[in-house]
Amino acid sequence: MIQLTRPLACVFMALIVLSQFLASPPASAAPSSADAPIMLVVDSSGSMSEDDGTGTIKIDGAKVALLDFLNNISENTPLGLLSYPSKSGGNCDPGLPAFDITNRDPATMSAFIRGLEPDGDTPTAEALRTAFEEIKQSHGSGTLVLVSDGESTCDPPCDVANELADQGVDIDTITVGFRISDSGREELECIADALNGRYVDANDNGELQGILDDLSQPKLTISQLSNPARVVAEAGGEADGRVKIEATIKNEGKREATDVSMRLRFDLNGPGVARPIVRIGNLAGGASLKVAWQVWPPATAIDHRVNFTVIGSATNSPTDAQRTGTFRVIDLNSAADAGSILKGKKRIAILGDSYSSGEGAESYIRDSDRIGSACHQSSDTYLREVFALPDSNVIACSGAVANDISAANQPNSKPAQAAELAQLYERKTGSVQAVVMTLGGNDFQFPTLARSCILASHTCDDRVYDKPGLELWGGTPFAEFKNRGVGNQGSAERAAIKSAYESIHAVLNSAQAVARRGSIAPIIVLGYPLPIPLTGRSCLPMADKLSRGEILAVGGFALELNAVIEGIVADLRSEGKAVFYVPNTENALLPDHTVCDPPDRAFARSLVSADPAVFEMFPRITGAIAAKNPTYFWSKDFKNSMRSASELVHPNAKGYAAVSSAILRWTRGPGGQAANEFLKTVEAEPTATLSTGLTSDGMVDENGNLILQGGSRYPLTVDGYAPQSDASAFLRSQPQLAAHAVADQGGRIKVEVPIPSELEAGQHHIEVVGFGQNGKQLKKTVAFQITADRTPSVGLILAAIALVATLLGLLLFGLSRGARAQLRTSALHEGAV
């Protein structure tokens, strides 16, 4: 067994156990039998002088068992002993109790036990009656233990038992057949049945001792233990990543176990304390209780076997009950573990916003981590490492909104993401095979809410402040903030997000791309991982920054945001688009890897680890300090603060790995399988025919991209519409109605589309929306590009002029020196001559 070193073992702190009691009655609810009197009735007839099968005389074994019982039983338990038959009476005389039921006194009682001698007949019925009366008279109720090795030789015991049962006295009867004959057993069973008790076989003195031990002390056992054999590491609180350990502790003894506790222990050999401790209270004889733990093993346990022990103990139990189990932690986080929808895919593009670009994961790529760029892109974002994707496949950009899919983001100098997607791989091995993305959070102002909750000194569950430094100016009531965005069914944001997905679909699954690839490519939209605890538990380390109410507000908003996105995705799928929603990623940081958890456990940029300056930054920017010190904006401190502010509430590298795991789980699960089936039903975006009057060579570049020029009008022909139906053509890059037309008798629409001169360079598309011949809405899309203005900049011209001038100057200088030298030589020659 490998014992982890201490530093490595620290990683195991991520093991989270949720201990809970399952359906069981309260342990102390059962009646206590701790101080109930016990009357022992022991057959000491002649047959007890026989061997018990182990080489021990029966009566000697019985003496050992009885003496042991006497020593172990609680000091408070009243005890009586009757051995039968009487040594001085007749054959059927049971005699009197050796000692009446009285307080336990080993110093006196043990001599009677040692004095037992086997002799005489077996008046079981008479002894039963005597003992019954003793209990009845002395205490009114109690436990009667009858030990016999043979058949009764006097009155029929069964009849006597029935007669006693009619008295209705509460006596718990246990009959023990000590290596007994079948007929003798039947008698004792009949007695037990009549008195509503139980019969037990004791085949030798060891078993007899065990039976008596059960009466004298609690006997704890872990009667049931269940757990899965295998579990996936770090599955975000989902079922396949959870080890549910259920253990049932039972007190098989008669005596109540006091202050029972259950513990789960993972260090079988070490001296560590078993935990968690679950205090059960007292457990009555015969009672049981089930305790369950839920364990989420960490990634560091992958490929290891985890052994555990469940321990039950009671303060008055001489031995602990324990039972061991094991489970194996497996890893299903490699590309080979992906479901069909992503299996074997090597060209996956990551689009969308900061939750896809890898904000918070560090390892930022290219020049994305610089002042002036809000577009952090990380090599540690989800799926990149799993599928060995090149950095260029990370197209997502921090702060991206829906419009950035089809239009360039000028502040970040980023082209439209759809255009980048179209260019990706086009020149090499074929089009992208899948897009994975997050989008919509920025459109619905989730960052504003998060910033307001964390940075503002007022609570965001009341009012939302767009800029924390301006909070004194009022802010927007939270309900209004929510309703005008994520809570508004008809909001422009929803339409924009839907349009963004459509744009990506048009590029990804254009007829040309599908033909080249040979299949439809999915757009996999991820639910935003909840960065805060789902249950609304307190964010204790940062309680002054994020109250419980704020956690609920942020969590509720995030859940609603995901629901909206899921709805948009469902709409698109109903329209035949290969867009799928992954709900699993929502829980990737749960239950205890959130911003509220310690940095060593958090899968997100923990608030605890955030640069403290962040919490001062916004007031400083808007306050007099910044005004007095403008150089602050160029300082490293400012850059770090800006970065830290951007990273807030985003996953860290471990968090993105957890998102990867969640995606892979989805691909393997029913959702991914259904999506893969759905792909087979999706058709490529219909080809629209553009007739421009120009040669095709002039329209299409060397990569097959359609190139148009702003300020021109282009005739567009699209087929497949209902005859005489209306249709509209939209420019989707900068949403505007471009043209309106009516389909001809053949369902063909011919329309001239004006391309605005101000249209930015990059990827765009024209969307023709009408009705198909089946009466349903029909939307066809054609993508095109506007090339960048190739007019050289003034700076470049000046630089070129300067370069030319310099070269000319150097040339002239060289020529002049050469000419002078030639003149000097000529003069010398002339002088010589």
Binding site: A111, V273, N316, R537
Partner: protein
Amino acid sequence: MIDEPTPQAPGRRVALAILWLGAVAAITGAVAIGWFMHAWLDGGDDISIDRPVNVVQSEPIVSGYVPNVLGLSKQSALQAMVDSGVKPSAISTEIMPHIGDLGLVVDQSPGPGSKLKNSKVTLALSGPATMPDLTGDTLDSARTRLTKMGAKISTTYRFNQGARENQVLTTTPGVGQPLKSSVELVVAEPSTSVFLADVEPLTNDCNGEAAILDGNELEHSLVCTPDAGQPATAIYRLNRKIESFAATVGLADDGDDSAPVRLVIHRDRELVANFTVRFGQAREIKISVASALRLTLEVRGGGGSSDVLDSKAVLGNARLIGGSSAIDAISADDTQP
């Protein structure tokens, strides 16, 4: 004459060699496959987790009630408490000696499930633990204390004269030593006894039989009838291991009621009892015989005279009391004549 080797011999050797090599290859392959199958099925190395397992909650957190935070790290315990409505300023911590990892909640007050009434909450966090001095404590008390410190307890019983039943005699590890996960307690076992009637005496003038004293039947009695001028004597070997001698002493109900007798008891040579036994005046006696080698019981006629006949002195249910090993040894000792 030397036979020519048969033409088949080289071929047979080759065949045997191939067969042998094939068998070796098959065994080697089977071992290799078995090994890999084992590795594949068994899943690599064991791993043990020697870090605390954190309880997020033991039951759904209900605001207004104290949650169960036992076993939690301090951080998680504070979290659970605050989630239940306890103000951070109302939570205090203290260190309690405990085995294993430090800084975990090993006790809490108020206990789980208690209703919060603006009361303060105290969490006991595990700290370094050494063996406390439990000598003289009861077993229950020691067990409770050690269990709270996380120890697993094993108990050994030993008779100790003068010690109460279940009184702790010694501990391992010793007082002040670092506490280990397993602790062994040696505790005093209860006294046990055996009837003198069931013990072989060195010499005996008395009979082991049932007798009736003051109306009570005492089944395991010694009945001693002194002869004229000659006391009835019974001597028992004690081996210095018996704690005490006890009996109900009187004159048998069915004997002479007019003549008292005298009971003289010696512990070795030391006189420890000398009194008159009268009819109808049975009395309980218990005499210490600690460290004695012998017990001598002597019943003399009243005043030592020789005119007393038929008075039956009864040592009802007379028994020796001591530790189980000593009593068992006395009971089983058949070396006494």
